[in-house]
Each structure stands twice: as C-alpha cells, then as structure tokens.
Symmetry: C2
Subunit: 467 residues, 2 copies
C-alpha cells in the first residue's frame, strides 16, 4: 500500500505510513480504531481501514479483547470482507462470522477463490457451513463441496480449482489469443499448464517465457524442467515440503486417474509450512494448538494434559530419589547438588533432541546418516560431560570440603551427559519409526531419561562411596 491515495484526515494518512514502515500494526492504529468503535463512527473506521491490508485488519481483530472485537465487527460490517476473513486466525474466525449478518457473510464469500472458501468453511460447525454454502453461487458451491469431499490436510483441500490450461500443440500466439478472450481468469497465476487430450497435465510454461517468445513458438518447446504434479489425496505437508525443496511457484493437482483438477500455488504452501513450524515449536514445548486470542480457560484446558504428563514423569524421578533416602539423610549435600546433574542432563538432552527433531522435519536426518549422527551426539555428550565433570569436581569438593562428593558428581555428570546425547537422538528417531510426531513426545521422554539416569547415577554412586 506504499502508494495508497492520501485521504483528507491527516491521522489516517499518517497511520498509513506507520503501518507501512513497520510492516505491522502499531499501538496507535489499534487505539484509533477502538476509539472510532467506541464513538460508533463508521466513517472514521472506514477511513482507518482503507489504507490497511486485509492481513493487518485481521491481526487487529485478533489483538483486541473479545467484546471490543464484537463491537468492532458489528460496526465494520461489510468492511470485514472475504480477504480479511481468510486472514483471521481460525480460533476467532467463527466468532467473527457469527457476528456478521448472513448477507455480509455471503458478500464476503463471493469474492474469494474456491481454496480460500474451503479454508474458511472447513473449520466451521455444520450449521454455519450450510449458511456459507447457501451464500455461494451454484458453480462455486459445487466446487467447494467437491473440495470438502477430499480428506483434511490433503492437496485437494489446498488447491484452487481455477486453472489456466492449454492443449500441448498450441503456440504462444494461440495461448495469448485464448487468454485475451477469457474473462474470469484466476487472480494470480504463474504458469499455463499443458494438458493432453485426456485432460492430464504433462508440463507447464511460465508466463515470462510465453511473453518473451515469438507468437509462432510451440508451447511444447518452452516448457519448464521444474514441473511437478501432486495427487488430490497427498498430505499437505509433503506438498509444502516439495514446494520449499524444489522452489516451486505453482503445481497442478490430479485425481486418481491423473486428470487435472486444480492447482496449488506457493502462498498455500507457505501457509502450510508456517502452520507446521508453529506446531513443531509448540509441541517441542508441550503446548498444544493454541493462539494468543484463546481465553484463559481454553489455555488451561489445553496445557493441563501436558503438565499432567510432566507430573507423572516428575513423580517417577522422585520415586528414584526415594530409593536413596538413607544416603540423603546422611549427606545433605547430595540434596543440594542433585538438581545440577539432572538439570545439565535435561539441557544437553534438549539440545540434541531439538537438532534431531528439526533435522527429521526438514528430512535432513535419514536412514543413511542416522548412525553417524547418533555416534556424533554420543561423543559430544561424552566430551561436554567430561568438561563439566572437571568443573563440578572442583565446585563439589570445595563447596562441601569433601573430595569424594566431587568425584561422585563428576562421574554422574559424564554418565548423564552421555545418556542425554544418546537419548536426544534415539528417542526422536524411534518415535518417527513408529509414526509418532517426534516433536510431540520427545521432550517428555528425553527429560524423563535424563532425570532418572541423573538421580540414579548420582545418588547410587554416592550410596556406594559415601555410606
């Protein structure tokens, strides 16, 4: 919106510039919008929204309080268009849709491409789905219903049905003439897909190549090597991986018979990658699917199970400690020092695990280098273990004036960091082998192992040496 026309209200024009400079909302923009809402000033709200990108309006809706949001949507009405709806986080989208009138919703939906409608509709409950479907033209409705018949998270859900195709034998001139005759081309397209007589995609040509070639050039002579196609039921994560790995901009999608049914573009793939990133980061930290706009009760409900699992593993570690009550009563220094061994093991394990989980996600850790990585992590754990063992031998001996305590903590440190390095790789690899997302469960397993091994090694050795 760099060159958005200036409006008469100075604050809006200034707002515009500051939105543009930061590529994000600033506090002032939010405050001004809320002011307009409080005053019920639709004209001002319209002026404030005018220079804003749909994505920024969506962010604004996500950031305000739930009742401010309702007021805002009520006042904004048709300013919340299809683009804004498709940018909004799904957690609050339903809430926004419920506040809109059916007419506003219908208008909003009509301007969207089929993939965006599907993306919005799939998260709604059935009544709302029906309402949105009713708002669509018959052609769009059939397209959307067809898309919804594909499994969730499949290429079929991700694709748009609007495609630009040409028969294999066409020339550049044929193609340009044909396109000039079309009046509902997709909003964004980057390739003309070549199809055979049975409507199967065989290759594609970039628009750049078409435009820079003489009219008589056969399309078949300027096709791109990068061509890849996907089947409707392929997992969206695999599609996104391929877009990222092979730098695709768009790719055709085929049905089981190989016939062209749609096209996936890079913005769809980027959205999937973004979601997968967020999921990985959250799962590694034991956070489920949540967002900043969730209420307190929702996040309590979503985080409770993970904390519950952690409680069980923490109790397991305590049971291990309780096996050594004798030596703990005799030498209280052990109670002081034992968390250090567990903490260092937990951290080293988390380091190895994070690298392994990430490498599995980017498919850099495979059967062919797994053993090399396991060996490397074990060696690294052992080496760091030895380094910190020396440090702790001194600290332990000097702090408690008892060299044997230093020896015990040093040995436990080496053992636990070795185990941390090993389990940091082996746990995610094993989970992946059994088809469990390693991001989801690795953390709990790895820290349980390092806690149990850490306490057992430290207190067990202490029992042998100090009692």
């Amino acid at each position: 919106m760099t060159d958005a026309p200036e409006t008469e209200e100075t604050p809006v024009a200034e707002e515009d510039r500051s939105v543009d400079e930061d590529y994000a909302l600033d506090n002032r923009a939010v405050a001004q919008v809320l002011e307009a809402v409080a005053e019920g000033d639709k004209a001002r709200l319209t002026a404030l929204f005018e220079p804003m990108h749909a994505a920024d309006i969506a962010d604004l809706l996500e950031q305000v309080e739930p009742d401010e949001r309702r007021q805002l949507v009520l006042l904004a009405g048709s300013l919340i268009d299809g683009e804004v709806l498709s940018e909004i986080n799904e957690d609050i989208r339903e809430e926004v849709i419920e506040t809109l009138t059916s007419e506003q919703l219908a208008d909003a939906m009509r301007e969207l491409e089929s993939d965006d409608v599907v993306d919005i509709i799939e998260d709604l409950d059935e009544d709302r789905q029906e309402a949105v479907l009713d708002a669509l033209d018959m052609v769009d409705r059939i397209a959307v219903e067809q898309a919804l018949s594909y499994p969730e998270y499949s290429a079929g859900r991700l694709m748009q049905r609007e495609v630009v195709i040409a028969p294999e034998h066409w020339t550049v001139g044929d193609t340009i003439d044909h396109l000039r005759g079309q009046d509902d081309l997709p909003e964004q397209f980057y390739h003309v897909i070549l199809v055979d007589p049975r409507h199967r995609p065989v290759s594609y040509v970039t628009l750049g190549r078409i435009m820079s070639s003489p009219r008589t050039t056969p399309l078949a002579s300027i096709t791109e090597e990068s061509f890849r196609k996907f089947e409707v039921d392929e997992y969206e994560g695999d599609v996104a991986y391929a877009f990222n790995q092979y730098h695709l901009i768009s790719a055709p999608v085929t049905d089981a018979d190989g016939r062209l049914v749609g096209v996936i573009t890079i913005d769809d793939a980027m959205a999937v990658l973004d979601e997968e990133h967020e999921e990985d980061v959250f799962r590694l930290a034991g956070v489920g699917d949540e967002s900043l706009s969730n209420s307190t009760f929702e996040i309590v409900r979503r985080r409770f199970p993970w904390l519950g699992v952690n409680l069980l593993t923490a109790i397991l570690a305590s049971v291990v400690i309780s096996l050594f009550e004798d030596v703990l009563s005799a030498v209280v220094a052990l109670a002081v020092l034992m968390p250090i061994v567990a903490s260092m093991g937990g951290n080293a394990g988390t380091q190895s695990m994070t690298v392994a989980v990430r490498a599995l996600a980017t498919r850099d850790l495979t059967g062919s280098n797994a053993w090399r990585v396991v060996r490397r992590e074990a060696m690294a754990g052992l080496l760091n273990g030895c380094l910190f063992a020396v440090v702790m031998a001194f600290v332990g001996s000097i702090w408690f004036g008892e060299p044997l305590i230093g020896v015990v903590i040093a040995v436990a440190m080496v053992v636990n960091l070795l185990v941390a390095g090993l389990s940091g790789v082996l746990v995610p690899l094993t989970l992946e082998r059994f088809g469990i997302d390693p991001a989801l469960a690795s953390g709990t397993f790895v820290t349980t192992v390092t806690d149990v091994v850490g306490f057992f090694a430290f207190l067990g050795l202490a029992s042998l040496v100090l009692l």
Copy 2:
C-alpha cells in the same frame, strides 16, 4: 522431474521414481551413489545424478561422511553445478568449493543469477571470494561486488539485480514487443515493474494481467494494489515478514534515492523465513547455529557455552536449596519431592514462554495486547497451579503419611505456577524491549526463576511449618 526421460539403466529409472514419490532422498539412492563413487564409475554417477534435483544432490552431499563427500565431489566434478552449490548448507559449502577445480567453480558460478552468487560468496573466506569473483564476467562481477557492499542480512544482499521494467506510459503491446526483443531475461519473473523517468518504481503489473489484456491496454490501468517496495538497507527479516504477511510474490528494491536497483522474489523470502524459524527453534533449546554436517568438536564447542550458562543457573538453584539444609536433614521427604515443584514450574514457564516468543516473532504480541496476555497467562498459571496443588496435596500426604507435607507442596505449586505464567510472558517481553532476541535468552531466565522460586517457596514454607 516427474517426466524425466527414461534412461537405459533400470536402477536409475527406478531411483527416479522413488525420489519423486518421497520428495526426498532414500537410503538406496545414497547407497548407489556411494557405490558408484567407490568404483570410480563416473558414467554411473552421471546417470544417477541425471534425474535428481539439485536440492536433492545437495542433501546427499550433506548426509554422507566428510571423506565420502570429498571422493564424491572429486568424481562428480562439473556435475556439482551452480544450482547444487547454492542449495548446499553453508557449513559444508566451503569444503565442497575447495575440492572443485577453479575451472569447475567458474563454470558453476557463471550460470547463476547475481543473488545466488552473492549468497554463496558471502560465506567464503577472502581468498576464495577472490577466486570466485575472478571466475565471473566483468558485468556479473560488478553486480556481485555491488551487492556485497550492502550490509549483511539486508534487502540489498537478498535481491537479484536482473529486473524487468517498463515506462509508466507503455501499453500491453509495447511491453510484449519489448520482451520478445530481450534475450537475457531473468529465469523467473512474475511482474513487470513500472518505473518513472527517474527510474523509481511506482507500481507493477502481473504477467497474467498483461497476457489477458488487449494490446492497446495501458499498463498503468492494470497495476496491482499489492505493490510494495523495499530499501536496500532494510533488514531481511522485515522483508520476509512482509512477503509472508501480504502474500507478495516479488517486490522491487530501491536505493536511498528511491531508484530501482533490484528485485526480491518469494523464494528468497522463503529461505529467510526458514532460516529465522530454525534459529528460533534452536535458540529456544539453547543450541547455536549448527547443522547435522558439523563435526563432533564443532558441536561440543557450540553447545558448551549454553550448558555453561545452565550450570551457573543450576548452581544458583543449589545455593537456594543449601539455605534450607536444616529442614532437609530433618525431613528427607522434602528432598524427594522438591524436584517436582521445580519441574512443574519449569514446564509451565516454558509453555507460556514459547507461546510468547512465537507471538513476538510473528508480531501477534504487541503493545496493544501485551497486558491482556500477561493477565491471561497469570490467571492460567494460577488455575493450573490450583488443579495440580490438589493432586499433589493428596500424593504428598499419602506417600509420606504427613498431611502438612501435602499442604506445603500444594502451596508451593500454586506459587510456582503463577510465577511461571508471569515470567513466561514478562521475560520475553522485557528482552524484546531491550533489543535482545527473546528466543535466545528467555529459556534460561524463565527456568532460573521457576527453579529458584520453586525451591524457595517449597523449602521455605517447609521450614516454617515442619521445623
């Protein structure tokens, strides 16, 4: 490569299909390549590489052992082309480049666009940089040297200098005629950028719109609203954010005088987002910049400092414990239970922190909703604290037959989970305010707080109640 021509060697053709099916390397592909290398069979290696995408060849180079890699590069020679080099992880790229002859390197560089050459060259040491620059044509060399004069991580480093422009007053017909006359258009381009007489970009037109409009249509009448431009010295992270937020495909870059100097395309932005994401995941886990191809010593060296910081914070927690040696000697049950309080606090804090760090990275957590999020996290911590307090009151009382122990752990749990929720948001917010990457340091601060508070609350209360 779906439609790669079949070769005579059956295994290769099969390989091809399996690479395509999995969108990644499989073990067999790697094993076959290593076999060919062991036999010094260049013909077979060529046949094996033929159907593979440069990105997959790069992955293969990353996955094999260092000496296998050297053998492979020596045999492959010019098969390691510019595209493969630009796909390779920078940690091993230098190693691969050193194995290539200067002639092979020169050939590889010559086929790349200026942004890819810059991306490769900026990580090399000076001697190597000189060698690569010498391999380039004068025009390319000047372009690359110019790009290297922009700060690291700036839009100037990211952009390619090859641009497709048109004066504002041109028509669709003018543009197509002009493009047909060009013989070195960029490999990928999606927009024609309109420039004013002083070579400042004012808008752009998608190729799709140009192709589907009559020849007489003025370009100025079919420009895109999505137009955004960047300055050469803007931070690449801001550029990538804008591409993602506003669904950009390409965007012009201007110098300080607003003149067009290059264009950034979505693949560059995706690469930046990917790097930033990896950095965040790694930093949250206390892992520096590392990759699977790093040697054992390299990862020991990179992880040691983080473990060192953790050791200091663990010792701090131990000092807190040592304040309560009396009560620990008197009631050994406390030593058994205390890690539970710290562990639950650490986990709850990590949950809040991860959500906050992620929201800061995606710019969803801003000044306008910070207080709401802080309140929400505090409330959620308090509620989960109360829930787990009830559980632990029972467990503690029954396990050790002493209701007071149950009371102590319950109260400590509530306190620590409240503190965990608060510090989980406040620490990242504070770091961000001081310009420190919250992903980098939040984890250490938050777990230090929850450890110290957890031990202090639990043992302190126990001293008051049980002694």
